[in-house]
Amino acid sequence: MLCQKCGKNNATTHIKTVINGKVTEQSLCGYCAAKQGYTGFSAGPISNILASMLGQTIQVSAGISSHSCGCCGATFADVAETGKVGCAECYREFGAELLPYLKRIHGGVRHTGKVPGTKQLVIKEETGSVSELKAKLASLVAAEKYEEAAVVRDEIKKMEGK
């Protein structure tokens, strides 16, 4: 399919815009898409590899202007344009919009790696309070780290038994 703007190049970017519930779709070549600011997550060096993974489908959601991060002020348009997130809180604010991207980039959307504070290898040896340990247990279970969770559970039992 040819680009709907210039009619010369192949369309590689499909843009779906939702404004006040009205959906419009556009198929553009990379050049025309970039000219209109739809660079999405294909900006930046690592993202070059991602561009193909993402299929360059960019969806601009409804009401972007009214919907911004209460913490840093970024709108989803800012995030989509730069491919960069404004602050940690943005991931909660724009969770619904970001999840499909994360899934396409990484395949999964659930963290299965390190949980902060699970490895107390250096510096301090103090063990946390029971409530801290319970919070840790909850996050380990959420991360499906059952083996480590079992260790923490036993630790809590031991402390409560005292």
Partner: protein
């Protein structure tokens, strides 16, 4: 311990170096793109305090350096020694780095994320590198409180790093895979499990020293251990492939090529970067194939210290021609 490129000449064969990087952010500051000057000052002060406290316990001493106090020549040289990223060097004024004496451990402050913890060693040492990065991460987190979400893991400015925030990589010397056209196949195999291969010093071209870096791309939905073990498995497969390719070489022809490279390096009066890289790669191959004795020449150390920024730093500012002359002289003195 010696810095990675000196270590690489001692322990490295096909696998030159191993690197681990963790991206982290403080939970109560916006990501660097949205930070103002005051926030950068605050970020640096808080990280410096944490680094100093860790140093006081005697576990790991890192020196804190404000980047705007570092001369331009040294900035380029730091990129060439893989101490800082090219991105960090491009816009370094507000940034700072905390670094160990041997430069194997560093914490870049104010790059794309608030903090980038990096550990780099010579040879295959991914586990050891991750172990140290993990410890430092735990210690810093206790003092700084990193942005973390139960579902998404560590939160980063770029969604490509979210989750573990881990980028692990190994640098490989693949002269025979390269000359026999096998890099594309290597790259495909790595791509199937979410790893990428890229050429170092001259993107995938013959202009480099046949050095390639493989690294993980996926950080969400995979644990650090699995990401590193995938990388190790693929690295070993590539090493086997390179070894098989080396085994089929004509030894006389190889000896001839190695000694010609040696002769040129020993007697040349002008060495441009491209020629130098090709020759040094041949020397590295010669050492690994038992043609040249290991201690007569240290190719990886030479490769690093003969980069333009490193040369400029040692011999003050020079034209390209003067640089080629200085490079030849330095190489002669080290053989």
């Amino acid at each position: 311990m010696a810095c990675w490129y000196k270590e690489a000449d001692k322990v490295g064969d096909i696998i030159i170096s191993s690197r681990v990087r963790l991206a982290r952010n403080l939970s109560d500051l916006p990501f660097p793109r949205r930070m103002n000057d005051d926030m950068f000052i605050q970020l640096k002060a808080r990280v410096k305090k944490a680094i100093d406290e860790i140093a006081a316990t005697g576990d790991l001493k890192l020196k804190f350096i404000e980047m705007n106090a570092v001369p331009e020549n040294e900035i380029n040289a730091m990129v060439e020694r893989h101490v800082i990223s090219p991105d960090f060097a491009r816009n370094y004024h507000d940034r700072a780095i905390a670094i160990s004496d041997d430069e194997s451990v560093s914490v870049m402050i104010g790059e794309e994320d608030h903090i980038r913890i990096q550990v780099i060693y010579g040879g295959m040492a991914l586990d050891k590198a991750y172990e140290l990065a993990d410890c430092l991460d735990t210690a810093l987190n206790e003092k700084l409180g990193f942005a973390y979400d139960n579902q998404l893991g560590f939160l980063t400015e770029c969604p490509t790093n979210i989750g573990t925030g881990l980028r692990a990589s190994v640098m490989l010397h693949l002269p025979v895979c390269e000359s026999s056209g096998q890099i594309a196949a290597v790259s495909d195999a790595a791509g199937k499990i979410g790893l990428t291969v890229r050429g170092m010093y001259g993107e995938g071209s013959k202009a480099g020293a046949s050095l390639y870096q493989i690294s993980n791309q996926i950080t969400l939905g995979i644990s650090e251990e699995n990401a590193i073990s995938n990388l190790k498995v693929i690295a070993e497969q590539i090493v086997d492939r390179e070894k098989a390719a080396r085994a089929s070489l004509d030894i006389k022809e190889l000896e001839d090529a190695v000694f010609r490279a040696y002769g040129t390096l020993k007697y040349a009066r002008l060495l441009n970067s491209e020629e130098f890289m090709k020759l040094i790669s041949m020397i590295k191959l010669g050492i690994n194939m038992g043609i040249i004795e290991k201690d007569t020449i240290r190719p990886i150390e030479l490769l690093i210290i003969a980069q333009p920024g490193m040369l400029q730093k040692s011999f003050s500012v020079m034209s390209p021609r003067e640089r080629d002359e200085a490079r030849a002289e330095m190489v002669r003195n080290m053989i």
